[in-house]
């Protein structure tokens, strides 16, 4: 076991996969000479050189397409989006090219590519720089969507994403990069499509992913003080979603609260609710509730931003509602 930050865990995953497979390369804005806008690629240019760690012009649509083309002929591109806010400019290549190539070609041409970078809000970056788009990508057949919430998951899942034969949208958290955690030594992977029970409990199921794993765990602690036992399930992969693990828990707890950073309308949580109420209808003692980001563009002001973000107190309140406590 080693203790690593989420950032360094990602950096290790990239380095180890690039050492293991010379088809793997990293491309994006400032990934090479600048070591990455968030330093996730620190040292990689020095180790692998400019052909495998490639700085691009500001041209998200273009370099996303370059990655798709390279993947179509057998390379394993990792395309860094400085943040997924800017990926809106590249989304045609992600959705119309990467996600559909295998199907349109009748199985002849796959696109083994990873689009990665931070998603969601950081601190006071305002409306255009604070958006969570995971439900958008998860809506698209042909894409896989991975969102680790811990350093160990980040490393193991990024390795799986790079080894995957299909396009993977790998969304990190800018606020998570400095998060420290235990990471297994050596080479290991975590399978895509498998959720993780981050805390066991009996009274209520909390479903979360990425940054909200921390929110749910904090809420679970506070609930424990009131002797409410919450089970915290980290989806880790949004698509394909591990519904079995979620259902197994809800069948046990009979109550569920879904926590996510993004906006409420047709968010990831809406899909969790849809699945659970359909598959576990007779096991539910209360409606499923959701805790989400406020349904507004993100404000710059610090206090307003704090109020716009999903926090443990909202989770605690939702849990008490589904438990019919006060």
């Amino acid at each position: 076991m080693q203790t690593l930050t989420y950032r360094d865990a990602l950096n290790q995953a990239l380095r180890e996969e690039m050492q293991r497979d010379d088809r793997v390369f990293l491309m994006g804005e400032e990934v090479a000479e600048y070591d990455g806008a968030y330093k996730v690629s620190r040292g990689l240019l020095k180790e692998f050189g400019p052909m495998r760690v490639v700085d691009t012009p500001i041209a998200e649509l273009g370099f996303a397409g370059v990655g798709v083309g390279a993947a179509m002929v057998g390379l394993r591109p990792v395309i860094e989006m400085m943040t997924f806010n800017f990926a809106l400019l590249a989304i045609d290549q992600i959705v119309n090219s990467a996600a559909k190539m295998r199907y349109m070609s009748g199985g002849q041409v796959g696109v083994p590519i990873v689009f990665r970078g931070p998603g969601g809000a950081a601190l006071q970056l305002a409306a255009q720089h604070s958006q969570a788009f995971e439900s958008w990508y998860a809506h698209i057949p042909g894409l896989k969507v991975v969102m680790p919430g811990t350093p160990a998951d980040a490393k193991g899942l990024l390795k799986s994403a790079i080894r995957d034969d299909d396009p993977v949208v790998f969304i990190e958290g800018e606020m998570l990069y400095n998060l420290k955690g235990d990471v297994p030594d050596g080479d290991y992977t975590i399978p895509i499509g498998v959720a993780d029970i981050k805390r066991a409990g009996d009274d209520v199921t909390l479903v979360c992913h990425s940054k909200t794993v921390g929110v749910a765990l904090k809420a679970a602690e506070q609930l424990a003080e009131e002797s409410i036992s919450a089970e915290v399930i980290d989806l880790r992969t949004i698509r394909p979603m591990d519904t079995e693990t979620v259902l197994r828990s809800v069948v046990k707890t009979n109550r569920c609260v879904v926590v996510e950073e993004g906006w409420p309308f047709a968010g990831v949580g809406a899909q969790v609710v849809d699945t659970v109420q359909r598959e576990a209808f007779d096991h539910l003692d209360a409606p499923l509730l959701r805790v989400t980001g406020a349904d507004v563009p993100m404000p710059y002001n610090k206090a307003l931003e704090r109020a716009a973000k999903a926090d443990p107190s909202q989770v605690v309140a939702a849990v008490k509602t589904v438990l019919y406590r006060e």
Partner: protein
Amino acid sequence: MARTTARKREKPKAGAAVTAEQCRSWLRQMLVIRHFEEKAGEAYTLGKIGGFLHLYIGQEAVAVGCMAALRDDDYITVSYRDHGHALARGMTPRAVMAELFGKAAGGSGGKGGSMHLFDAERRLLGGHGIVGGHIPIAAGIAFACKYRKTDQVSVCLFGEAAVNIGSFHESLNMASLWKLPAVFVVENNGYGMGTALARASAIMDISHRAYSYAMETEVVDGQDMRAVKDAMDRAVERARRGVGPSLLEARTYRYVGHSMSDAAHGTYRTKEEVEEYRQRDPIGVLHAYMKTEGYITDEEFTALDAEVVAEIDDAIAFADSAPDPDPSALYTDVYAEPA
């Protein structure tokens, strides 16, 4: 339009000497495309083909001229107007027609259709429906060739209306910045659907856009297959040598409507204009050359034409009788089969 002087061009080598055999095969390819497209149009009106059908009639010399300059291991990407390129690259009329009919025997198993022709073996990587969408993809394929230090070339063909979209700009800049082994071929047929170039681009000389990227460029007569091949030879050679990418503008014309839902000459162009362009038919141009060179007699031409007609009739019959994909195909090829 902007007064810019052309970047000094490499002196065009006198068109590499071509043999009667070569000409014959090129002529045959153009005839295959021409008859294929005419039959496809008929099949569409009969309801055998659905969706959008974009015919290539009139532009045959561009696809044939480009493919003639390539090696088997070079890569090709093209827009939705892709039948001609697929046939010139060697896909059989049966495989292409079956795809248009949506049959399992089609190149993409009937799941792609007319706009999405792929033949991985022949390195034809689509058939793309979003205007400009395949330009960065072609740059990426070229990037992979450079990455692997092979001397393969990535050729990308698109219409003149695509030069006004952002991906064209971003892709050509990166391709030149990184000296990628790519050739970008603009098939300038004068119109994007009903919009004439002059109503969509601030400059009429598309090739001048290359100067924004310090890229080599040439304008070529797209109705003269041999001229297209000669220009391609130069561009492909530059790419192979690692000198960098090129932008080729082939001036051509589509005789038919944008797609089957568009009249041959809508309100946006006159019957006279279409007729005028038909005078310099790409098949006629090569045929005339072959006659003057004594490469082909009228009897031989008639025989060749009949042979091609029969091949296309066979392709139609094959496609018509071929089975639909199995219903289970709906759910395959979304993701790779778990190894």
